[in-house]
Assembly symmetry: C2
Homo-oligomer: 192 residues x 2
């Protein structure tokens, strides 16, 4: 998505450790009009008239996922983060490793709100190692729901999460894939 | 807001400790179409053509705030939760007490994304003791921004947060005020 790549190039900050910060429009201050255009772009990649729910992960994916769900006319559900020893009833749980917080995190989802057979589109703002999405796919599977696809706004292509999904033949689309980010700039996969 | 009160009555679950759970449409599985109608309702209470940004708190307020911001044509920013000893640079910080997690929580907001003079509408899905909103108001003040108003979808009127804002002459509106919730049912302030 050209507009997304341009904004990442213009506004993204590269921090040590290959971190690309785009918190001025994507995951802290959120440009909601722009999220609406991203939602339209996902609607070209996925058959959004054939989904029952949008699933994302707490917290930064919620804004984008909510706006997408509004546009597609379906509800949105987000997996909640919990400490890994927090066991409650009535919940699907997946264990993931958070590279941001450098610890194990449990994703929780009420069984009640994801009935078996639901057609689920997973959406998130960012993917690096893909742990959050791996956990979400696991929740979909536990629920006996159907994974229609996975859409990511910004993929850090050099950290493996996206390539793993591609290899698994998941219906996966990222709107911008960053292949390299250093002091010389931010480079997208299509530039290679 | 009649539709909101009806859904709380129909779908809300009262748990021990005066907890009212509406996670089937508001803060876990989110009915985004309904959030759009809540956004329209807030637009009757506040002059949304005269705001620069919508501010909310991580995590459950984000979906509603994003949809409101989309409708009002402004960006949305959410204060991030951090452990209370997590001090970083370039951030406004407020200390609040989380009754949910029974511990002190720090709200963080990048100085960069809330310029002095910004006209801010604070929106959140739920208010009980009002600690989250108190922290958000504090961030607005630290930034030298202007608080246009505070809008809450569901207020638990018996826990004091809303009444404190009313006493402070904040431009405050809640779309449903629960005055009592027990095994006999959920009662709204207008019913009293």
């Amino acid at each position: 998505m050209q507009e997304l790549k341009e904004r990442i190039r213009r506004e993204g900050k590269v921090l040590p450790g290959n971190i690309v910060k785009v918190d001025g429009f994507l995951n802290h201050r959120v440009d909601c009009q722009f999220m609406g255009r991203i939602a339209d772009e996902f609607a070209k990649q996925f058959d959004v008239s054939n989904i029952d729910i949008v699933l994302t992960a707490e917290a930064s994916g919620i804004a984008l996922a909510a706006i997408c769900a509004l546009k597609y006319g379906v509800p949105m559900i987000f997996a909640k983060k919990a400490k890994s020893d927090n066991i409650e009833g009535g919940l699907y749980q997946s264990e993931i490793y958070s590279y941001t917080y450098k610890k194990k995190v449990t994703q929780l989802l009420s069984k009640e709100w994801l009935p078996a057979g639901s057609r689920v589109l997973i959406l998130d703002d960012f993917m690096a190692n893909g742990e959050a999405v791996r956990g979400l796919c696991d929740l979909v599977q536990q629920a006996g729901a159907e994974l229609v696809g996975v859409g990511i706004a910004v993929e850090k292509g050099f950290q493996g999460g996206g390539d793993r999904l591609r290899a698994m033949n998941v219906n996966y689309h990222a709107l911008a894939v960053i292949d390299r980010a250093d002091e010389t700039g931010i480079y997208f996969r299509e530039d290679a």
